[in-house]
Symmetry: D2
């Protein structure tokens, strides 16, 4: 059944998403919203919308193993996951609201988000010397007042911020890090700019935000005061894996484009596809994709079984982010000059995949953490 | 239940196999037979013997997924798989005899082999200009006579040949490539030498054999005349995967040794384990092992489900052989000069793992074949 | 003396070029021309202008070894080489005009080019199925008429085409490939567009050009009819090396930025510069830069000595293009999210260096050619 | 002139050294001494002996740049450098005796060493927890007595110890680390064993030594008391480079063997040399060799010019040791099963090159040291 659903997602992406990809999105990500307004009704009509939410919330109720195939297919186009409303950061934000939200918060924010009427963002990362990989360096502060809280802080690389209706903001309080739901039209919120970045068509861009004496009421607190880090950690592991799933589709698309190119193009009397270096590059791409897929699936099954994936998700994130980047890099190389231009999707996919080696924890950070953990593990543990 | 069995294999390897590893094996592989004569009765008594054969043949009747864990644990010592009688080439030879053998052939050869009273080998590979990776270059010939066949040919890198009681020999006939069961004491069989090689303690070494006017009777033919290649292909895919399983254990052992070393050794005032380069190398080893394990398991499950694994087993073999070599190389590096000596197991494991990138098809050959296959595949196939 | 000159170039780049780099250049390369109009008089006044041309032509008359240091320093900013008028494609075009140009052609084109009053381009590459890496696939045609030639063809990735005053165009004739000097305002020349590409601030962009019944007179032929390929080959080897020199500076700049970043930024209580993974990445960058520099210098000295560099320049181009890309990739990784943004130069340098693995001959093409050549070489040749 | 000398060394190695290589050397390195007794008179007669020593000491008086070519040619066979008496550890020991030795010490030890009548070793490295990479962990002690010194300690991986006539021993004293010349027949010296190691045919093996109440007279001190580390550092930089030179020749030999193999061997109807993967591997080998050679030469010229090479020699050692290992690994892979056997030189060369990534300072150690140094360097320093 998932196989069938994945095939339908695939057909939808081919028919509706890829033809709508355009340079206007690339050079100004805000333009994507208009395209999404077309796509989401189509996805709903096709029965493909909101795969990750329970059926009670209007979703398809897929478990993680089922999502893996669907997210991968959706991810072949940068428009696909958003068309199905399973793109970051809305997708993990919905999960956070489901888990930690009050009924009122769910009604106010989860409903419109699930329906696809609004977008949201997650405001955690700060520029130096604030919290990057290390959340203990959090500098944004929320102080309690008689009628709520006042938030001050500086955030950046807040994906999806441009055009978002609300943000989940992580800020330090006297009782520990806390998450707040903040409407983006709150006068204390300033969208400084969309940061020009390597991946230029992320929906809602990467925002730089300032919170200046930003007043919110008590009911802005998401979950419990002081539990903000715990919640952030909880969302991180599945969020990483969902990224792996979606970007697996993107890398596969780059390879498919390159395959068609080398099957047609000749040089020095040989069709490129007949050259062994080309064949070996294609083989390495498939090996990277296959390894990425089985590692991701293994994590998905563990999550479905309620098993911990702290170590496995970190190993998978490091491997997959680097493997997919290699795939995109080879695909671009296979296409020659065309692969360096925006005439083909491969250069853009290469730009989109490069930051994944940094976002959600740089590879180096994961390696150090994993290495220390393994060095303490008795060899009996085979992992 | 497999988990429990794997744990018992692990304990058996720690208690009985690793302590029996010795330099005499390394510098003259024939000495291993005496050690095996001690180990096999112990494995039988422990209920760990012959995991891969059906219970009707005295085995434990494990499916491929179950074997994966058991073979990995056994493979931590070069003595482990042979102690359990699941080492190559006897293990795939038993499967060949089970599938293609007549009742008389099974009684004569499979029985003693399964009981662990004799060893065997598989004589396919030939030195240049004969059949290496390309079986169509087969130069060994068998011609039909009134009462049987006469085989002439030159074979090398015939693992296990020294001390083997019989060989399954692949030779060209007028009706196509054919497999023959040939007793090693047939006067037409000459064991020229054990080839000195990088992996010096393979049980029975790597033999060079000459077949000089070697007469065999009609009942020496294994299966049908002319089907020798088909059978060879059939055995190759599972044989590769069984290698991946066993050698995964070996690489894990090298890493465990290195981990203990860096946890104890200091340099320039730092414990080696506290250095980030060391941590990153350890993390990369675990990522390589984890990816290798999940790819191998994925193939095992496909085989258990009766699905084809032609492509998956080739991708897995390329990845695993290279990944395990990286693990052993890093483990040796982590141990410094000790890692270059035979005082530690890591240098020997490094030598044992290097040839796996060539045996069972060199990586380059698999890459070219895989690449060509993928280049013809419509993108709908996600593999 | 070159050391002193290089130091002055370095100071000039720091004082005049880097401060003038701006986002407007990145998002629309045409804007660079205005900046150049400021910079070139300053470079002339500083005695740094036109390092590669003989003093008779108003240049500094440096040999290749001397240029290596100067080009590297200039190349730290994308504005540097053009400020000194030693950027591609003007730099090799000047050399072509010097070698193959008639006195009239030199006066008309070389003079203004050397003075920096105009820019030019070199129109060789064609989109599929035309001439990419393989010049024998040239499809642009020039047919002889009573009073000159008529050129028809389609070119792309013509670096510098936007705003160029003339192009040197390679087209097939009945007497073989021939180079023509074509004014860009010839009504038969159509600048279709600037191709959006990974390296978005190349001066004059990467143009797509169509030649539609483009009439030129006989004196448009550069050199001899039929010798167009020979000339193209002659310019290619030094052109590649000049690229290596300039881009070496660019990669060094990325590393310098990353070094300053990790020296200041902390994470998890450690200054990034104190982490061994960071130190190892920095060391690898320096090793890559050092190896690139000595290989480039070795070629430069051979050229100055009149020795052939066909093989050495190909080896150097492959190594340097890949090594510099690694440097930029590591530098970006070291800077975390900042390294993915245009707030820092590293992401842009990464984008600029990636295509060098394709431009001037893809690595795979060079490897195949080099491999075949070496396979025919008796071992006595140590190279 | 060096070119001519190198050609003569090359011819000598082909005619005299390579034919004398034999399995007996591999499986028991002591046998090499008999072979050397034949070779050294031939090298003297050919005017190739002792290239590195001044003519006053009977050498050829080559500078470092000249030695580079000669050492590389000699290094094509493991017998070559010893035949010319420019192998480690005798070669750096001679330099130490020349620099720090008293006239009496020179007469006693340098003379016979230079004449090739005896061999020597350098006893610095200790097993854990003693001095490995970090000399400050030195545990061997020398205490002053009325008539000299008494040395106690444990050393290992002392290359050349088996059959050596004397050792230069580094031991801690109350006045700092000090070097002593100790005759190997001193009753306080115990050669515990030759350590079985990956590189099994090093001349004189890798010895494990114990110094038990080893009495030496005052004139055993080499140089000044307390300066032992300083001297060790002084010898290390040129020693590393000499290793690079010699092993460059060894890697080149492996590649030459592989080239001949792929030029002759066919598989699946193609000559291996006609396959692009093979061509690319050959090209990468040559690029690695070329880069290694120019980096080594650059250091040699700096040493000849009296410039410091602390940083350059470390970068060169890391790069060259890793590059040459890649060359040998590819060469072995190109030869298939033959490359895994001792029938061809490549497997042995692979085993010989692997330890170079550890000996003379592991790559990781050099990277950390280099990284820290570069991180402190203002960007003005281009290295």
């Amino acid at each position: 059944m998932t196989g069938d659903l994945a095939a339908r997602v695939r057909a939808f992406v081919d028919a509706e998403c890829i033809p709508r990809e355009c340079a206007a999105h690339v050079h100004g990500p805000a333009a994507i919203d208009a395209t999404l307004a077309e796509l989401r009704p189509l996805a709903k009509a096709a029965g493909l919308y909101l795969p990750q939410l329970p059926q009670a919330q209007g979703g398809l109720g897929l478990n993680w193993e089922q999502r893996a195939a669907v997210f991968e297919e959706a991810g072949r186009s940068y428009l696909g996951p958003a068309a199905l409303n399973c793109a970051a950061p809305d997708q993990p934000n919905m999960i956070s609201l489901l888990r930690q939200g009050t009924p009122a918060q769910r009604e106010a924010w989860l409903g419109p988000l699930a329906e696809g009427r609004i977008r949201s963002c997650f405001a955690m990362t700060e520029p130096a010397p604030g919290a990057g990989s290390d959340p203990s360096m959090l500098r944004s502060r929320a102080r309690r007042t008689s009628d709520g809280w006042v938030i001050d802080g500086h955030k950046w690389f807040i994906t999806g911020a441009v055009g978002a209706r609300f943000a989940i903001v992580l800020a330090q309080t006297d009782d520990g890090p806390t998450q707040f739901i903040v409407a983006m039209d709150n006068p204390g919120v300033q969208l400084v700019r969309a940061i020009p970045a390597l991946d230029p068509f992320a929906i809602g861009g990467h925002g730089e935000l300032r919170f200046n004496e930003c007043h919110v009421t008590h009911d802005a607190v998401l979950g419990e005061v002081g539990q903000g880090f715990v919640y952030a950690q909880q969302r991180l592991e599945p969020a990483r894996l969902a990224h792996c799933m979606r970007l697996l589709g993107r890398a596969r698309r780059a390879l498919a484009f390159a395959r068609d190119y080398v099957n047609q193009r000749s040089s020095f009397r040989d069709r490129l596809a007949d050259l062994q270096q080309v064949q070996a590059m294609v083989a390495d791409c498939h090996i990277d994709l296959h390894a990425s897929r089985v590692m991701t699936l293994d994590c998905a099954r563990r999550m479905d079984a309620g098993l911990p994936v702290k170590t496995e998700s970190a190993m998978t994130k490091v491997f997959v982010s680097e493997a997919l980047h290699r795939v995109a890099d080879r695909a671009a190389q296979l296409c020659g000059a065309l692969g360096m231009s925006e005439d083909a999707p491969v250069a853009l996919i290469l730009r989109e995949l490069r930051p994944f080696r940094i976002y959600d924890g740089a590879s180096e950070l994961h390696r150090a953490t994993l290495g220390r953990r393994f060095l303490k593990t008795p060899e009996g543990d085979p992992a």
